[in-house]
């Protein structure tokens, strides 16, 4: 996390935003590493790998005050054009509303029932995912996605982007869920959150699933 020096803030203010209140940037650091991140309000830079939750738990002013100045840390900085920035989140390759014309989050949709043989996936940073019980069932209130939507996700970082996960660490552990016919699910579209675009399909297993319905895990690439 770095505080932009006034010169960089002025330069950033002359360039377009990537979204409301932020710019996605590429930075060359003092030790010649190229890194990407998000600059908020043209003032505060959080690198891609840094957690975003501190933005919620501390005031913007206090984060700025605590941050080190970018002066000796950054050699160059550029705002990524929209097309390049979107490659950061290239998981978004399928139109958001392509599944059942759902447009809101799953929790706000009407319950429906799964069909025979329907398959779902779940991505997690954790290999020992606590939502999966030892008997191979999902706990109630657990989220997954459709098998089709999961095909858009090739890496753990893409899962973070597509499902707008607050934990920026790659969700590279993939589990397969094969619930019994008529299992209750709610299907919706992941809304943008945590500086991630969302857009993937989310499936809420409000009542969980039956024993021996979750298998895996298989590991996909981190990035």
């Amino acid at each position: 996390m770095l505080r932009m020096e006034p010169m960089r803030t002025r330069a950033l203010l002359e360039q377009p935003e990537s979204g409301m209140g932020y710019q996605i940037v590429e930075v060359v650091t003092a030790d010649f590493k190229t890194k990407r991140g998000v600059v908020y309000n043209a003032e505060l830079l959080l690198f891609e790998e840094e957690p975003r939750t501190m933005l919620k738990t501390a005031s913007f002013a206090s984060l700025l005050a605590e941050s080190k100045s970018s002066q000796d840390e950054i050699r160059s900085l550029r705002v990524l054009p929209r097309t390049t920035a979107s490659q950061l989140v290239e998981a978004v390759r399928e139109p958001a509303a392509s599944y059942g014309r759902k447009t809101g989050p799953a929790k706000d949709t009407l319950p429906e029932q799964t069909k025979e043989g329907e398959v779902f996936k779940r991505f997690s940073f954790f290999a020992d995912d606590r939502r999966i019980l030892p008997d191979g069932s999902l706990r109630l209130g657990t989220y997954g996605t459709t098998e089709k939507d999961a095909q858009n996700v090739r890496t753990g970082k893409e899962a973070v982007a597509r499902y707008a996960l607050p934990d920026p660490r790659p969700a590279s552990n993939r589990f397969t869920i094969e619930p019994h016919k008529d299992t209750v699910v709610q299907c919706g579209v992941v809304e943008p959150a945590f500086d991630q675009p969302g857009g993937g399909i989310e499936v809420l297993f409000a009542n969980g699933t039956q024993p021996k319905t979750v298998t895996g895990r298989d590991k996909i690439r981190d990035e």
């Binding site: 738990t57 939502r131 499902y163 607050p166 934990d167």
Partner: protein
Amino acid sequence: MRIKLDKKWIARLVRLPESGMGYQRVDLRLKDGREVKDVAVFNAEELDLADEFARIGIKDVRLHSN
């Protein structure tokens, strides 16, 4: 600062629904009486807290409601 919740909070959270894939949004009550609202907990066990809160200790954890 990333912290790991005590077992009793983990045991509570795993019985409660998720807010999205792999996480729950919670409100924390700290031991000094302050509240920290809408914090994401990953896998019912890990969360990021500002240093000033993380050192105090947690008195209660509840799901965040909008």
